[in-house]
Symmetry: C2
Subunit: 644 residues, 2 copies
């Protein structure tokens, strides 16, 4: 039943509706939905301004197809659920509105295109809505909801923060405005209130940190106090308060979600119980046969031993039926992974017992199990690291590379000889998998590279790069042998899936900002090859940038000319440093108001999303720490990975 996967879709209970519902949740349908969402999103790669240009007709047909698919999916859902519930859900209405808006935009753009008028495909910024609002991306929606709940609290802090920035701007204007000071680049210093406010906002992000202070500091020692006060109040205290507000809301939200999910699960199981119950004695129960059928229907690939175990747990008194309380626990029971521990014999032992049990073989096994075996290979890895750092042009070193590779392969073979292979490659044995995969990948890449090289005397740069990276990644094996490192890395890997949720969230925001950025800044800044002789190559093809920090830093490739470049620029803006230089550059080639785009991006991504990310890592690490120290696993802890 749904409760197992914490799904939450009210559906009708008629047999036809149930069949439809099963079909709705069938994996092919879900994969198809994801496929169309990704097609729709990736259209931005092919539309003007394109990475791989396609004619408008092709992209618009693809887009209409996607919209049709979304509409079909929605209609399917409408058939499954009741009318009332369908129209109450803001998700569905949101998708509908987006489909209609996109169609309108397509028609307007298409007809203007027909008469050769260029317009803007504004509806493209709405595409991430499909990704967010289909029931398949619950996680991203949760993260967004958490963000939305934080907004009211953040707003007041933000207003106070802006007020403080303005007060300081006013002070700066009065203190430095008519001193006639010059910045290091010779431009006037702090003479316009709007510019001051922008500079001080940038100072909060620390991006122009000592530079903005230097002219005043050079003029008079005491003015540095103004900047120190500003930094303490606005950079340190206010930014921490933002984190605190986001974090405290995140926690509150997490608790609420868990409570709500637990309630919904219980509610659904109650409904199922009410359908299946029969009266035995004084209480209502579910017959064992019924229970068995239900469990098998919900989890068809469960082994019969596992099923028997669950039944044994649920039917405590062996009475042949399951009472209400135990029935309600079914969903939780099904989620518990039962590890079937079989101490299997090594296959070689079965096939050639005499050889495997011989004294030489036993000695080898003893050696491999010994600590020194691990240490020896740690030392080999370190020597390998030194060889990698040396120049690989030397033929001796490239031979050594083969030696190291064969040593690693021998190590794995020896381990497989000693340990049972199926146990070694069990699902939970992450580190063994990691180890083997890295070695095999390095082996394959090195062999492929050598083959290509000897066959065509041609060095493929791409393959060489991959070989290099794989060769260096092998050094990560050192982590395996240090217990504390393994714990930290395991924690990081455990929170990996939820980090992907943030990846999704960031992607949605990036996509919308990239579409807007491409609309506004497309073609304003151009990248020329370093050897280009074009007259404006050093100012990115735009004379307005002459003498700007943007051109001086050779930032020409940081532009919005296609989706990939836009994403990289937005990533740089997320990292914050030098964002004011990029903002200034684009303001110079368009209008000063363009800075608002960059400030908005900073507020949304750095103040909100990055803080939520930090809050999430903090919470996840607290949980990991408390688990490690053997405390009770609470509901919060169990749910955290799911909720993000």
């Amino acid at each position: 039943s749904d409760a197992q996967y914490s799904r939450n879709v009210p559906f009708e209970t008629s047999p036809q509706a149930i069949r439809l519902y099963y079909f709705y949740n069938h994996w092919t349908m879900r994969v198809a939905t994801y496929f169309f969402i990704w097609v729709d999103l990736s259209l931005a790669l092919f539309e003007e301004p394109a990475l791989f240009p396609l004619p408008f007709l092709a992209t618009s047909i693809a887009e209409v197809l996607c919209l049709a698919a979304f509409f079909g999916r929605l209609m399917h859902f409408a058939k499954v659920t009741s009318q009332m519930v369908f129209w109450k859900d803001s998700k569905n209405i949101c998708i509908m509105v987006t489909i209609v808006l996109t169609l309108i935009d397509l028609i307007i753009y298409g007809s203007l295109e027909a008469v050769n008028i260029r317009s803007v495909r504004w509806s493209r910024a709405l595409r991430p809505i499909f990704l967010i609002n289909f029931p398949e991306s619950r996680q991203i929606r949760r993260a967004l909801r958490s963000l939305r709940n934080t907004l009211p609290d953040i707003l007041y802090v933000f207003l106070l923060f802006m007020f403080s920035v303005l007060i300081f701007s006013l002070m700066a204007l009065k203190l430095f405005g008519d001193r006639g000071l010059k910045t290091a680049e010779g431009s006037p210093y702090f003479e316009n209130i709007l510019e001051i406010a922008f500079e001080l906002y940038v100072l909060v992000t620390t991006a122009n940190s000592p530079d903005v202070m230097m002219p005043a500091y050079d003029f008079n020692w005491w003015y540095s106090l103004y900047f120190i006060t500003y930094i303490i109040i606005n950079t340190y205290i206010f930014m921490s308060v933002f984190l605190a507000v986001v974090y405290s809301n995140y926690r509150k939200h997490l608790k609420n979600e868990i409570r709500k999910l637990a309630y919904l699960k219980r509610h659904k199981m109650m409904e199922a119980f009410n359908i299946l119950k029969v009266k035995v004695g004084t209480e209502f129960v579910v017959e064992e046969a019924q229970w068995r059928r239900l469990a098998q229907m919900v989890a068809p690939d469960m082994s019969s031993a596992h099923l028997e175990l669950l039944l044994r747990i649920s039917d405590e008194g062996q009475k042949g039926h399951v009472d209400k309380m135990n029935f309600l626990r079914l969903a939780d029971l099904l989620n518990i992974q039962v590890v079937t521990i079989n101490i299997k014999r090594h296959p070689l032992e079965t096939w050639v017992p005499r050889v495997y049990q011989s004294s030489t073989s036993l000695l080898v096994q003893k050696m491999v199990r010994h600590r020194i075996f691990v240490w020896v290979f740690d030392v080999i890895i370190l020597i390998n690291a030194i060889f990698i750092a040396l120049d690989e042009k030397n033929p001796f070193i490239s031979y050594a590379e083969w030696l190291f590779l064969s040593l690693y392969v021998i190590e794995i073979l020896l381990k497989l000889y000693t340990y049972e292979p199926r146990a070694y490659f069990e699902r939970k044995q992450f580190w063994n998998w990691f180890d083997t995969l890295i070695i095999i990948a390095a082996l394959v890449a090195t062999v492929a590279n050598a083959t290509i090289q000897s066959a065509s005397k041609y060095n493929s740069q791409q393959i060489l790069d991959i070989v290099l990276i794989l060769r260096i990644l092998r050094l990560l094996r050192v982590i395996i042998s240090i217990q504390r490192f393994r714990i930290i890395v395991t924690t990081l890997i455990n929170i990996g899936p939820t980090m992907l949720t943030f990846g999704g969230l960031v992607f949605v925001v990036y996509y919308a900002f990239a579409i807007i950025g491409m609309g506004v800044f497309h073609g304003k800044v151009q990248f020329f090859d370093p050897n280009s002789t074009a007259p404006d190559a050093t100012v990115c093809g735009s004379p307005a940038l002459r003498g700007s920090a943007f051109a001086r830093g050779r930032y020409c490739k940081n532009n919005f000319n296609d989706l990939a470049s836009s994403f990289i620029v937005l990533m740089e803006l997320t990292v914050v440093n030098q964002w004011h230089v990029i903002a200034d550059g684009f303001a110079l080639v368009t209008h000063q108001a363009a800075k608002l785009y960059f400030i908005l991006f900073h507020i949304v991504v750095v103040i909100l999303i990055v803080n939520i990310f930090i809050a999430f890592v903090l919470e996840a690490f607290f949980v990991a720490y408390s688990l490690e120290k053997g405390e009770v696993e609470t509901a919060i802890e169990r749910k955290i990975q799911e909720l993000g």
Copy 2:
């Protein structure tokens, strides 16, 4: 007794020792200690390299005096406590060793000075130890202890982080090393493993964010993926993990401290009870008279009504004695502040009742109490803000300034007329105090400025600046009328005292780093007046800096030539941005190894102390939020301000 102030000093119980102990805790002795500590620390202002130079003889005599005072204080303490306990306490030994080391250093330096050999006063970096280790600065010591407890956990994460940086450095060397790429400044790009490791460490701090990527990105689109991966893993994930580890240790430490303090308090009260107890019936109790004497001795300035109240609480059954359980509560009871609420009549009502109760007077009072009165003054403040933003050269505007000032004074007078003055200026009425002080300060400064101006026709820049700042600070009064803003600001002010603890901690670390920095970098970088004609003025007096980013950014005033400059440089390093430019600059004028000083500073201050600061603000805000929402005040919450 000590338990009231959570002091924790084991002392002997003989009458003479008690007298000595009282004297030891007397406020004059403590003030004297603080005085000598500050004299000792401020000596750095007068010693070479000095802000205000004094001869070596003067500073060394002052230092010996301070050392004598510290030694005396320590001896006094040794008399009070038992020998065993004294020598067990690492604090005392620490101070002793520091005194001896400082004396040795002084003698060596002095004798070398006598034969005209310049040496380094290395022991000056040890001076903050006095500040930390005297019992008077418990708070800073607690913060340091919290830091120390975090170290083992941090260490493993740090090692893993360094390992990751090295792996990435190796990759960068292989990927970009022999491409022959050039940075924007034309220097070779990523060709030396040590340089790469430094650049990548700087990238973790985001200080060189897009610049370090641009050459590779210009060369090939795909290489940006390397940098994005690096930033996600090392900047975002590892830095969050550092915060998580620091925060989780901070919390654990906080809980332990509270538990320990509670235990110690109980233990001491038990000892006191065992001394004073007499047997009444079957149980041991303390007689009422005894109890009274004790309470009066501990808190001499308590009113008799208050004492009676406490006794009433402690002696529940009115039996004339206090039993054990209630006696143990005494320390907590003494800490509860009893607010004596008196609804006093307005003094004017007492003096001139007829005038004060007249209908005009009542109307005025009603007006002042009305909401519109607040709004009117908010509007006036906003108009004032606009006037401030305008040019104050206009005589009309400078007259308006007087108008605004008088309006504010009238507002306060009206409020004092309406509300009872003593209630208005009560201790808890922070905002009223704030309001009045700002207005009075602005009034005094403006009058002083006008007097000086008319008397001597001379504009004192300092006074003008102060007047300007005070004029703008008045705008903060707007905060008072917005409830949500007041809550946020009150929370910030409540955690203010503990923030000062961090100020102390930062001061200690800054001081040690500044002394070392002055020793190593003194005089290497010089600041010349912008109009100076010295040949090396543009390269800060050091030809090695020619063409460096340090000289280009006009960072010459960021030097270690005196204590104040050093502190400002360290502050800039704390803010992180452009720290690599400063580090590079000082490495150029000395040696590349100088970068280690800057990396160490980054690790200690940014990774450890700033994270503890953020952890503290987070915890304080959680407490404030939960209090605001009316949850139960737990022991943690009560203690947090004390512990920091």
